[in-house]
């Protein structure tokens, strides 16, 4: 909006006076709402707990990671006593770490088997959901999409919670929970990859007189193979992390050990579990990065 000023020099403003005023009113209104929300949150918070947070966290970390500095009578360890105490401390952690092997391997199994099962269910669903391979856009496609959305909208932990109730605690519940969550994720990415194929290539295969399955295996699957491998590896990587959690509700793996350790207030053991999970996740990131580089 421009308006001539008194000495007839042209003046340009981005907003007219009226627009500028509205702008300010809206900005202040938003700021007011944000402050009001802060107040609501503040009223529901016990601030004394929050202020003691850093001290609590320090105490927890101390209990998790460090040996005790004082003996039972409240004095610092004498030098010889301290070393033997530290030795016992480390021996206990090492013995516990050895015990964790089995649940850790269980976790890897849950993630891997869950991913394989999820991808096996997702693949046919993806072909049914992709617009260019579905037998019926009107009927089959919406059903396939509904399956994929349902699977995706429920978190692994919630699938695990339901499955533990239905089929009982243990690894099978974990595998199925991981698989059910993976179906939606992999299926969605896969059907999008199918919809992006080069149709001319498929036309070429069809025009040789190839049957429907031949058209899929020659005209479609080679085109989506890299995406398929990439998606599966990516989901496996995510599933390693998810598989560490689902044990909290009884679905097997290292999460169950974590739950037990927390229940027993065995903070030293909790710290060992954290380190084990971290190492596993770093390892899986490395493996999946290598594998993904190999398939493209």
């Amino acid at each position: 909006m421009s308006s001539p000023s008194t000495d007839d020099q042209p003046v340009w403003r981005k907003r007219s006076r009226r627009q500028a005023l509205t702008h300010w009113v809206i900005t202040l209104g938003i700021a007011g709402v944000v402050l009001w929300c802060f107040k609501l949150i503040s009223d529901e918070t016990t601030w004394s707990f929050v202020w003691s947070g850093p001290a609590q966290a320090g105490e927890l970390a101390n209990r998790m990671f460090l040996p005790e500095w004082y003996n039972r009578t409240g004095e610092l360890w004498a030098e010889g006593e301290f070393w033997s105490h530290l030795g016992a401390f480390l021996a206990d952690r090492a013995a516990y770490a050895a015990e964790l092997w089995s649940p850790l391997v269980d976790t890897l199994h849950i993630a891997t088997l869950g991913t394989v099962l999820g991808v096996m269910i997702a693949s046919p669903l993806a072909f049914l959901a992709a617009e260019n391979t579905t037998p019926s856009v009107k009927f089959v496609r919406p059903v396939a999409l509904l399956f994929l959305v349902t699977s995706r909208s429920v978190n692994s932990l919630i699938w695990a919670l339901l499955l533990v109730i239905v089929i009982g605690p243990g690894m099978l519940s974990g595998i199925l929970a991981i698989a059910l969550r993976s179906v939606g994720f992999c299926g969605k990415l896969l059907f999008e990859a199918i919809e992006e194929i080069d149709e001319a290539t498929r036309d070429a295969v069809v025009s040789t007189g190839a049957g429907r399955l031949q058209t899929l295996t020659y005209g479609v699957i080679p085109q989506i193979a890299p995406a398929f491998a990439g998606i599966s590896i990516y989901r496996w990587d995510i599933n390693i992390r998810e598989a560490t959690i689902i044990g909290l509700v009884g679905a097997g793996g290292i999460g169950m050990a974590l739950q037990t350790a927390i229940d027993e207030l065995a903070w030293g053991h909790v710290s060992v579990i954290f380190i084990a999970i971290l190492a596993t996740v770093i390892l899986s990131e490395w493996v999946s990065a290598k594998a993904r580089a190999a398939v493209t």
């Binding site: 080069d198 290539t201 498929r202 036309d203 070429a204 069809v206 031949q214 020659y218 080679p222 085109q223």
Partner: protein
């Protein structure tokens, strides 16, 4: 050998891509199909092997009515009509040999094709064809490692692998440089001659069409407006096909229009395939 009568393609939105096309092609004849972008050239050859379903009319190959065929009989008919594409349409992640052998998919069962177990005479024929198209020794290369001209030769070998009676060729040279385009057209003409094949070749390059084919078909807005030997295709009749007043002043087709044309064809065949696959 190929008899097309009253062939009409009407899309659901009412657009008529082909209007009562009549065409008879004897064995061994090479026909160039020319016309402006969007005239229906791709639709016409795709109606012949039913990558696009014709709305009305008849397509007869050696007396067999192709438009009435059920799924498995259509597969049989498609073996006799090989198609070659502008974009080569190779399965890029498969080897040259697998691409050439895929021309036999209409003859080989599903599990044998899945396990790449093709009869030894097919494999011999594939080696022979690769030699004929000048790709000896490249059979184990991945298709996408080859140059455009080489990929189109693989496409030609795949088509001949079908032992077809008819070639349907969609813009074989549009993605190639002029010298390679000449080589590919020459190769197509030689091979059709050698195997006594009839061919319909969609092509934008009029001089190339006149040089290598026996007959020119001009399509405009879904109707055949010219049919005659190359010698009769003079600058006076070109405006009948391409429109415009003065042909000598007529520039190249706009690239945008051509893209639109291609997209439309791909979409329509994709819709058909949605019913076909699975």
């Amino acid at each position: 050998m190929l008899e097309i009568t009253d062939l009409t393609k009407r899309y659901p939105d009412g657009f008529e891509a082909l209007k009562s096309v009549e065409l008879t092609l004897p064995q061994g004849q090479l026909a160039a199909l020319i016309g402006p972008s969007g005239a229906g050239k791709s639709t016409l050859i795709r109606c012949v092997n039913r990558l696009v379903e014709p709305t009305e009319g008849s397509v007869k190959l050696d007396g067999t009515e192709v438009t009435d065929l059920g799924r498995s009989a259509l597969r049989g008919a498609r073996r006799d009509m090989a198609m070659i594409f502008q974009s080569y349409a190779l399965v890029e992640r498969l080897s040259v040999m697998e691409n050439v052998l895929s021309g036999r998919l209409g003859y080989v069962g599903f599990f044998n094709s899945l396990l790449r177990r093709f009869p030894s005479q097919d494999i011999q024929r594939a080696y022979k064809l690769l030699e004929q198209v000048g790709l000896e020794g490249l059979h184990d290369r991945r298709a996408d490692e080859l140059s455009g001209g080489q990929q189109q030769r693989v496409g030609i070998a795949r088509a001949l692998m079908q032992e077809p009676k008819l070639l349907l060729v969609d813009e074989p040279t549009a993605s190639l440089d002029p010298r390679t385009a000449h080589q590919v057209m020459g190769l197509l003409a030689d091979l059709c001659d050698e195997h006594d094949l009839a061919a319909i070749i969609n092509i934008h390059d009029v001089p190339l069409a006149k040089e290598y084919t026996d007959r020119i078909l001009g399509l405009n807005a879904g109707q055949l407006v010219f049919d005659g030997p190359p010698a009769e295709l003079t600058d006076e009749v070109l405006p009948d096909i391409y429109g415009g007043e003065d042909w000598s002043a007529h520039g190249e087709q706009s690239a945008d229009e051509e893209d639109d044309d291609d997209d439309e064809d791909v979409r329509s065949s994709g819709q058909f395939l949605a019913e076909e696959v699975l």
